[in-house]
Every structure is written in structure tokens, then in C-alpha cells.
């Protein structure tokens, strides 16, 4: 083994292990698949770290089958490992390690099947991060989708099945859009390699086929990233999938849709001015809409996992805003935000899973005060809520700072307001849940407040410390970010965006908006306090607030109807909006 062999391993290793586990699915003793899977995830984490170190000197290109380009024609498939991709692989490894430990003993009855699916999921996510070939990207996109579809419906309850069906239909459409986009650009360029395609885009700028190809690819990837108006599938799938799977969905899968979109926008289509302008507008509009819609929906939920799902939409919206700035700084901030959000959201879904396992429910009102026995989980959840709200520590905060500075430099300082709103709403919602479940705050539930959802419970014979350890570790990792991480991200981003090293910017001075994080945290605490102390507030105030808020809430709730026909109609509409915007910019 030498270091040159590293790039294929994050994909090949979990695949080999998955195949071996499947081959002997019936013979494994009880804890063996758990152990093997967790060790594999740990191995992927270390491979990711090694790649991160080795890619410091510049991206590593690895040609499969030794098919290096000959006479300018790219014959094979390559991985290109830059530090951003390696960091994403590391994140995936960490999340899967945590998830496997958290799920220890969860999936005994299906033998090793759960582990096989999860390992395949991990291989696909890693492949998606590292690949430098458009069709190969589609293949990993599809493998990750297929694994995710099956895992969503694991509980086999009617609602989980329907969520799985809707998830499968919408995300299959995403992959068909992507494939159509790949076919279109292949018809012009006759190649599938990112670098070669970038050359094609540079030569035939403004070609309508290339514009259409970008629209389809962007729509496909943003469906996966669940951005308004493509977001409808996400809440159902996240609310009903088993919690260890949600950790991956929210922490990695959704984010990777965005990662793929920005990778293509920079590395393939970056040289086309029309596409660049179009992508900026589309991404900004969708990002702002997602941040607000996700935040508002989040704060009105009582099913804790559904609430967390909407907060994922909101935070992915913030990342999309970061992508839309199209500067090194904005992109570096987005990457940091992705890493931090993945860790925090993974930890939060684990606390939701702890509630499901120990308290036998997931309804915020129904669980009021029941979390007192598991106080450590409450501390973890409060910590996660504060981080979501934008407490000035950790990876997410470094990302936020970079995005806000980049936006201000691009003349769009107002997006900081949107980001504060998103953070305050989602953080406030999580803090409210913590207060109600773990401290018993808020009004006593009446008879009419009984949970409208079906009873849920996840395997309850797992020790609490085993579930808390990965949760606390993820939070600790997201906090353990040295202040030099911004400089590091800015350096790492240059190969990702294909910029010459000369355009390197220095990290922003930290003192520019010192009060901002505290403002968001205060807002979040206010939102949580408002909901928890309703019964003590003057009735007039409550009535006025409800009356002004209810129509918006009713409209948004009706939008998330759970009907696949609606979802697909909105997907088509979203595609039309993306295409319309880019066509308009091409004409003007």
C-alpha cells in the first residue's frame, strides 16, 4: 500500500465490505455487522484525513484503469481530490461512524441488511464528492438515492411508505433531469470529463444547448438539496426515516446536492458569463426563499424530527446564499458551513433518536417534561440549538462570518439579515423543544393537544451512553475549530473554484460585526421564550400575533400537502423558473 492508492479507497472499501456482509448475511453473529460497519466508517474517516493532508500541495488526479487522456481525448474516468472534496469525505466518514455507533443494536432483526445499505450509501456519497466525471457523478448520485429510498421506508408504517414513495418519485425525476443535462452537454462537447467540458463551455459560450444542460443539472441537484420550490419531499422523508439514517440525510446527503451544484457551476460552467449571472440570481432567490420558508415551517412544527427537517431546509438555504455570491470567500464560507452544519444537525437528529428510544415518542407537546431523566441529552440539544442559532463559536460560525463578509463585499450585505432570521427561527424552535421536553416549561397539554401523528418508537434496549457518546462527539468536533480554519478554507478553496492562487484573499477581520451572533442568539431565545410562556402573556398580544401569523402558516402547511402530484407539479414549475431566468438573462 502506498499513498498513491488512496483516492479509490473511500469508495472501494465500503463497497467490498458491503458485498462481503451481504454474501454471508445469514451467518453473522449479532454484533459483528455493527462492529465491521463502524470500523469501515472509521477507516473512511482516516482515509479522508490522509487525503486532506496529501491534497494540501494541490489536487490529486487519479485515472481509473490507467486511462490517462491521449492526444487531448479523455478516455476514462478520473477522481480529482482537492481539499474540499477530502474534507467532505472526512465529514461523511465521521457522520457514518457516529451513526453506526448510535444505531448499535438498532437493526438486529434485518441481519446485516441495514449495514449493507448504509455502507453502499457511504461509498456513493464519497464517490460523488471526489469524482471528476459528469456521468460518474450521476452514477453515484443514483446509488446514493437508491440506498436512501430503501432506508427511508424501513419502518414499513403507512406514512413511512408513502414518504418513501414520494421521495423516490421526486428524486428519480431529479436524476432524469440530471441525465438529460448530461446528454445535452455531451452532444456539444463529446466528453464527460469536467476539465474537458470546461474547455467546451469556454469555446462555445452562449450556446442554448449548454444553457439548457446547466438548467437541467442545476434543477436535478437542487431537488436533492431540497431548495424551494423543490423542497416538498424532504420533510416527510426526514420525519419518517429511522433516526440513524436521518443523521446522514440531513448531515451529508442534502448538503451534497448543493456541493455538486456549486462544483459544476465553478468547475464546468464557470467560464460562461450568462450561466454565472443566471446561477447567481437563481441561487440567491432560492436560497433566500428556502431560508425563510424553512425557518417559518420549522418554528411551527411539533414533531421534533419534522422540525429538524425544516431547519435543514433553512440552513441549506443559507449555504445556497453562500454559493450564490460566487467568490472564493463566499464558497469557502459555504464549505465551512456545510461541515459545521453536518456535525451539528447530525447530533440533533441523534438527540431526537434518543427521545424516540427512551421516551417512546417524538411529539414535542406529548413529551413535555418527560426528558428530565435524560438531562445530558437535553444539554446536547440545547447546545445544538444555540449553534444553529449562530452562537459565535465553532465551524458554523466561521462559515457564517465568511459568507456575510463576502456578501457585503459583493454589495449584498442585506443577506446577513436573512441569515439571522433563519438562524433565529430554527435555533429558537430547537431551544423551545429543549425547554419543553427537558425542563417541562410551557403550558400543560390539554386533551385537544394530543399528538396527531401515529405512535412511534425506536429500539429501546440500547444503553443511553452509547447513544450520547457519538452525539456529544459530533458537537465537540463542530466546536473544536481553531480560528485559523478560515485561512485554511480560503486556501483550500482555490483549486475547487479553479482560481489562480494570486487572487487569494485574507480572512476578514473578526471584529466587523461582533454583536451580530449575539443578536441572533437573543432573537432565538426570545422566540423560544415567547412560545413557552404563552399562557403568561397578555391575551391581546397572543391573539394579535396569531392572527398575523396564521394565514402564512396555513398557506405553507397546505403547500406541504404530502401529495406526490403537488410535489411534481412544483418541481416542473421550479424547472421552468430556473430555465426562464437563465433564458431571460441570455436574451437581455
Amino acid at each position: 500500500m502506498t499513498a498513491a492508492m488512496l483516492p479509490p479507497l473511500p469508495v472501494a472499501l465500503p463497497m467490498l465490505i458491503a458485498a462481503v456482509l451481504l454474501t454471508l448475511a445469514h451467518v453473522w453473529p449479532r454484533r459483528v455487522p455493527d462492529t465491521i460497519a463502524a470500523l469501515t466508517a472509521l477507516a473512511v474517516t482516516s482515509i479522508g484525513l490522509l487525503l486532506l493532508l496529501r491534497a494540501a500541495g494541490g489536487p490529486i488526479t487519479y485515472w481509473f484503469g490507467q486511462w490517462e487522456p491521449r492526444d487531448g481525448v479523455v478516455l476514462g474516468i478520473s477522481f480529482q481530490v482537492d481539499q474540499v472534496g477530502a474534507a467532505m469525505v472526512t465529514l461523511i466518514g465521521i457522520l457514518f461512524t457516529g451513526s453506526f455507533v448510535f444505531a448499535w443494536g438498532f437493526f438486529d432483526e434485518v441481519h446485516a441488511v441495514f449495514h449493507v445499505l448504509m455502507l453502499m450509501f457511504m461509498a456513493a456519497l464519497s464517490g460523488f464528492c471526489l469524482t471528476h466525471d459528469l456521468f460518474n457523478m450521476f452514477v453515484w448520485f443514483e446509488v446514493m438515492s437508491v440506498a436512501a429510498f430503501a432506508l427511508t421506508a424501513y419502518r414499513l408504517e403507512a406514512s413511512a411508505l408513502e414518504a418513501g414513495l414520494n421521495f423516490t418519485v421526486t428524486n428519480s425525476l431529479a436524476s432524469f433531469f440530471m441525465l438529460a443535462g448530461i446528454a445535452l452537454i455531451y452532444s456539444i462537447g463529446g466528453t464527460l470529463d469536467f476539465s474537458a467540458l470546461a474547455g467546451v463551455v469556454g469555446r462555445s459560450g452562449g450556446n442554448p444547448v449548454i444553457l439548457a444542460s446547466f438548467c437541467l443539472l442545476l434543477a436535478g441537484l437542487l431537488i436533492k438539496a431540497a431548495m424551494v420550490p423543490f423542497q416538498l419531499w424532504l420533510a416527510d422523508a426526514h420525519a419518517l426515516a429511522p433516526s440513524p439514517v436521518c443523521v446522514i440525510f440531513s448531515g451529508a446527503m442534502v448538503t451534497l446536492g448543493l456541493y455538486g451544484a456549486s462544483k459544476l457551476a465553478w468547475q464546468v460552467f464557470g467560464s460562461d458569463p450568462v450561466i454565472r449571472a443566471g446561477a447567481q440570481h437563481v441561487m440567491l432567490a432560492m436560497g433566500v426563499a428556502s431560508t425563510i420558508v424553512g425557518g417559518v415551517m420549522c418554528v411551527t412544527q411539533r414533531h421534533v424530527k419534522r422540525l429538524l427537517a425544516f431547519s435543514t431546509i433553512s440552513h441549506t438555504g443559507i449555504m445556497l446564499i453562500g454559493c450564490s455570491i460566487f467568490t472564493a470567500q463566499g464558497q469557502a464560507g459555504t464549505v465551512l458551513y456545510m461541515l459545521g452544519h453536518g456535525l451539528v444537525k447530525g447530533a440533533l437528529f441523534m438527540t431526537a433518536g434518543i427521545l424516540l428510544a427512551t421516551c417512546g415518542g417524538i411529539d414535542e407537546i406529548g413529551l413535555r417534561g418527560l426528558g428530565r431523566q435524560i438531562r445530558p441529552a437535553g444539554i446536547a440539544m440545547a447546545g445544538g440549538g444555540l449553534l444553529l442559532a449562530g452562537a459565535p463559536v465553532g465551524l458554523m460560525q466561521h462559515g457564517t462570518t465568511l459568507i456575510e463578509t463576502a456578501a457585503a463585499a459583493a454589495g449584498r450585505g442585506w443577506v446577513a439579515g436573512v441569515m439571522i432570521l433563519g438562524g433565529a427561527l430554527t435555533g429558537g424552535a430547537v431551544l423551545r423543544v429543549t425547554g419543553r421536553i427537558f425542563l417541562g416549561l410551557g403550558a400543560l397539554p390539554g386533551e385537544e393537544d394530543r399528538s396527531p401523528t401515529e405512535a412511534e418508537q425506536e429500539a429501546s434496549d440500547r444503553p443511553l451512553w452509547l447513544m450520547l457518546t457519538p452525539c456529544a462527539s459530533l458537537l465537540a468536533l463542530s466546536l473544536a475549530a481553531p480560528s485559523s480554519v478560515e485561512t485554511f478554507a480560503l486556501r483550500a478553496i482555490t483549486p475547487f473554484i479553479g482560481a489562480p492562487a494570486a487572487s487569494l484573499q485574507s480572512p476578514p477581520a473578526a471584529s466587523s460585526h461582533d454583536y451580530l451572533p449575539w443578536l441572533t442568539v437573543m432573537l432565538a431565545l426570545l422566540i423560544a421564550a415567547y412560545d413557552l410562556s404563552r399562557q403568561h402573556l397578555p391575551g391581546m398580544l397572543i391573539a394579535a400575533a396569531d392572527a398575523s401569523f396564521r394565514p402564512l402558516h396555513a398557506l405553507l402547511e397546505a403547500w406541504h400537502s404530502g401529495l406526490v402530484g403537488d410535489y411534481v407539479a412544483w418541481i416542473v414549475f421550479g424547472l421552468a423558473l430556473v430555465a426562464g431566468c437563465i433564458t431571460w438573462l441570455a436574451i437581455v
Partner: protein, 114 residues
Amino acid sequence: MIDLLPWLVTAWLMAVGLYGIVTSRNYVHLIGCLTVVQSATYVLLLAIGYRWNAGPPIFYDHPPGTPAVDPVVQALVLTDIVVGATVSALLLALALQLHKKKGSLDPEALRPMR
């Protein structure tokens, strides 16, 4: 006109498939519509790799060097077909379980509880 036909067929298949999904009242029908949308991608890929007066990219009966269509898109379509088969199998399994649980396959009638 014949030059435009493959592209128009692609767009048409995609449009009718999407229309079918949006208005469908039965999940099995809906899965069928999804495969129609997917057929659009087959048509598109194969049309892009086509070349007038060229043979198949298999040099068994005629020697290498004979004009042939693009083998790459055919390989891509093969992957696409596998995608179609796998997704259909999963969807049908889900639909079957759903029917067992709820006795219906109409999305409108199955509106999930919130």
C-alpha cells in the same frame, strides 16, 4: 424536420410522463408514468450517439474502421436501464406494502396524517 424529430419526441415523452405523474390517481400508474419520463432520456442519449450511414459499434462482421455509431452513449443507456429497473423494483415494493397497509393506492386517499 427529421432532424428535429428525436428532440421533439424527447420533450414530448418528458411532458406526457410528467403530466401523468401530476394527475395520477394510482401509484402503479404513477410508476408507469415515471418510466415514460425515463424513456425520454433513452431517446435523447441514443439520438445523440446516432450517425447516418453507420453500423453498430461491434467489429465482428465488419473490420475495425467501418463507420459506427457512438458506443459510449450506448453504455450510458445500459446504466440508465439498470437505474430504471432498480427504481421500478423499489417503487413497486413500496406500493405493494402500502396497499397491504391501507388497502388503497390512490395518493389523494392516502393523505398522510400530520
